[in-house]
């Protein structure tokens, strides 16, 4: 039913000039064909065993309409990170808003463009990278995103160039114009020994039902370093599926920090392939959910070459009847000797009805490796609560303090102080709100 509506949508927009430019059309058509063949995943699909996307599949999400009135600078305030001079690119309902964006002051060798501009101005570059890292093969949502590529951001940093401030790409949604879907698409290419930080954040200007389906492709060339933040604070009625796929060449360093607070159902995929010796990846994440929220993270680290290191810490705090899912795969190829892999997932259940399915998955085909993994599920320590109370803290204050402490070691991994402050505040507000609610 809904499958047909996506196909119709696709044909309509193709006929309507959505096919431009011509070289992109086969990619899009290939993607919609894949989507048609795959359909939405069901629970028999091993990758979606604990997460039902039925609510997404049964809703007909057309393209999100543009808003009638743009948000003001004041409306934007709660979502801004760092000082005003930091570069930022703002989208509302999938449409780029130039008036709210600033990308001046970037050094030579750094290009931040909208995807639409990059397709027009740098078609060879885009064609070389788009839909190369993120595969449409087994992933319905990536296929759907690819079929509906319109806009997003391209970050291209030339060799040996260092971008000082994080670049913030903010996807805002205002569903008062009606239900709909957006398909943000990002392309990040750091050439050899380039360095940059990118913040990808998703937020709702108003609560409502909508669907964000985002794909980010990252290509890290030799010796480059990317700090990537994903901050997901969608409406608690909204659906979010976001996939980031990276390839890492020799000696590159990818630090991914993923924070999830919002969404009725949300799924974040973070996949990287360590495809050159000396590659280093850290995947850190924190999810804080309550009510009826469902939050799912799937990470996949592929050690495809020797002497690479991967460290991963994901933490979850689940209240009320919220449901969390964590699936962390580490795949070590036969040639990937001297792999150093460490993975942990820790969860704090704040209510007896909260639930977590956690599944670390190691597949190791090399013999000289050091890989560990572990998962824990626990409650707040009664003794610690009592200790705090015996020092004058109320039970609510004690819980907030201890919950925050649980999250602290993920927050401490944040390399940028202003980003850390923003997230610390979000986490704190979240705990306080949760207590009152």
């Amino acid at each position: 039913m809904t499958l047909a509506s996506y196909l119709q949508d696709f044909e309509a927009s193709a006929a309507n000039g959505g096919g431009r430019p011509e070289w992109l059309m086969p990619i899009k058509r290939g993607a919609i064909d894949r989507f048609e063949a795959l359909g939405f995943p069901d629970r028999n699909n091993e990758d979606w065993k604990f997460t039902s996307v039925a609510p997404i599949a049964r809703t007909v999400f057309g393209r999100m309409a543009a808003v009638d009135t743009l948000p003001t600078a004041a409306d934007l305030e709660p979502y801004l990170i760092g000082p005003p001079e930091w570069p930022r690119v703002v989208f509302v309902n999938g449409h780029f808003v130039e008036a709210l964006s600033t990308v001046s002051g970037l050094p030579d060798g750094v290009a931040v463009r909208t995807l639409a501009d990059a397709i027009a101005e740098e078609p060879e570059f885009v064609a070389r990278h788009l839909s190369h890292t993120a595969s449409v093969e087994g992933n319905s949502f990536t296929a759907l995103n690819t079929a509906f590529i319109t806009d997003g951001v391209v970050l291209h940093v030339e060799p040996n160039t260092v971008v000082e401030h994080p670049i913030h790409v903010l996807y805002l949604t205002d569903a008062r114009v009606g239900e709909g879907a957006t398909y943000p698409r990002m392309l990040v290419v750091l050439e050899h020994h380039a360095q940059a930080s990118l913040i990808e954040s998703y937020a709702a200007l108003h609560d409502g039902v909508y669907f964000t389906n985002a794909v980010t492709e990252v290509s890290l060339q030799a010796g480059s370093r990317l700090d990537h933040y994903k901050i997901q604070r969608e409406s608690e009625q909204a659906y979010h599926v976001g996939t980031l796929e990276a390839t890492q060449e020799r000696d590159s360093h990818f630090q991914s920090l993923s924070f999830a607070f919002g969404g009725a159902v949300s799924r974040t995929n973070i996949y990287t392939v360590l495809d050159g010796e000396g590659g280093y990846v850290t995947l850190n994440g924190l999810y804080v959910v309550h009510g009826d929220q469902h939050v799912d993270h799937q990470t996949r680290i592929e050690h495809a070459q020797p002497n690479c290191t991967s460290h991963e810490v994901y933490k979850g705090i689940l209240d009320d009847q919220a449901h969390g899912v964590f699936n962390g795969k580490v795949y070590v190829h036969p040639i990937a000797q001297k792999t150093d892999g460490k993975q942990t997932n820790q969860n704090l259940l704040m209510s007896p009805r909260a639930k977590i399915d956690t599944k670390p998955q190691l597949e190791i085909y090399a013999d000289d490796v050091r890989c560990t993994h572990g998962a824990t599920v626990g409650q707040l320590d009664d003794q610690a609560v009592f200790y705090c109370r015996s020092r004058g803290l109320s039970p609510a204050e004690a819980k907030t303090l201890l919950t925050y402490a649980f999250a602290a070691d993920v927050l401490e991994q944040i390399p940028s102080r202003p980003v850390a402050q923003y997230l610390e505040r979000l986490v704190m507000e979240r705990f306080l709100g949760s207590r009152e609610g």
Binding site: Y387, R391, G392, Y404
Partner: protein
């Protein structure tokens, strides 16, 4: 200040305290000594409001109020402080933050404005001196990764910041070497005032050389079997607990 009358308390259906009577007045230092398992920590925890213990009989009045009716934090805010025998570790929270939150909870309860981190630093500097510690300890996590001795000292630092009216020290001396013991005792002595009181729980007489008690009580099997002046501690040290245990059984 504190009046315990016929206190019976237990856990998991087993009676541990079997009728404690004890009165502590402002300005006094009371020591409670007793063999392991006699119920010393249970008494301390019941006074602090630990819910794992059930009071089955008796009353505890603190400054005229029914202490047993108060929540643990109400007791703390009313000036009761218990230094834990086994301080709890809170990884992820710095000492500086924890001390400030506790201090501000106290100020809030008195209708005073909270202090900001900078002003708090001025205050804490002076408190650190009472336990002869450098400011490095403030950036450490609360008790996590600390040695046994450091944890005990940390309890006394908290006490110095919160300035309680009645402090219950549960085996604060155990695990301390003699130098640390002197520092801790000195810190506690510096806090003594005519309007506050101390209940010092210890297994050994050693600490009482430095914190000199006005009264010594011997707790055996959930009952105070003997009370006396500070010389009782020395007698106990010389003769061992069997001596009072027999006396307790005989009485």
């Amino acid at each position: 200040m504190l009046e315990i009358t016929n206190l019976h308390a237990g856990a998991e259906g087993v009676e541990i305290l079997k009728g404690i009577n004890l009165t502590v007045n402002a300005g006094e230092v009371h020591a409670i000594m007793g063999p392991n398992g006699s119920g010393k920590s249970t008494l301390a925890q019941v006074l602090a409001g630990r819910e794992d213990y059930q009071v089955t009989e008796g009353t505890v009045r603190y400054e005229g109020k029914d202490l047993l009716e108060m929540e643990p934090e109400e007791r703390a805010l009313a000036g009761l402080f218990m230094a834990f025998q086994y301080p709890v570790e809170i990884p992820g929270v710095t000492n500086a933050y924890f001390l400030r939150v506790a201090y501000n909870a106290l100020r809030k309860s008195r209708g005073l404005e909270e202090v900001d981190p900078l002003d708090f630093m001025d205050l804490i500097d002076e408190k650190l001196k009472t336990v002869e510690w450098s400011a490095d300890i403030l950036e450490r996590q609360v008790n996590a990764g600390m040695s046994g001795g450091e944890k005990k000292r940390n309890e006394i630092l908290q006490m110095a910041v919160l300035e309680p009216k009645l402090a219950v020290l549960d085996e604060t001396d155990s695990g301390l070497d003699i130098d640390a013991l002197k520092i801790v005792a000195q810190g506690v002595n510096n806090m003594r005032r005519p309007d506050n009181a101390l209940l010092v729980i210890t297994h050994y007489q050693r600490l009482l050389n430095y914190i000199v008690p006005d009264y010594v009580h011997v707790l055996v099997d959930g009952r105070i079997v003997k009370s006396g002046g500070k010389e009782l501690a020395l007698e106990l040290e010389a003769q061992g607990y069997e001596w009072v245990q027999e006396a307790g059984a005989a009485s």
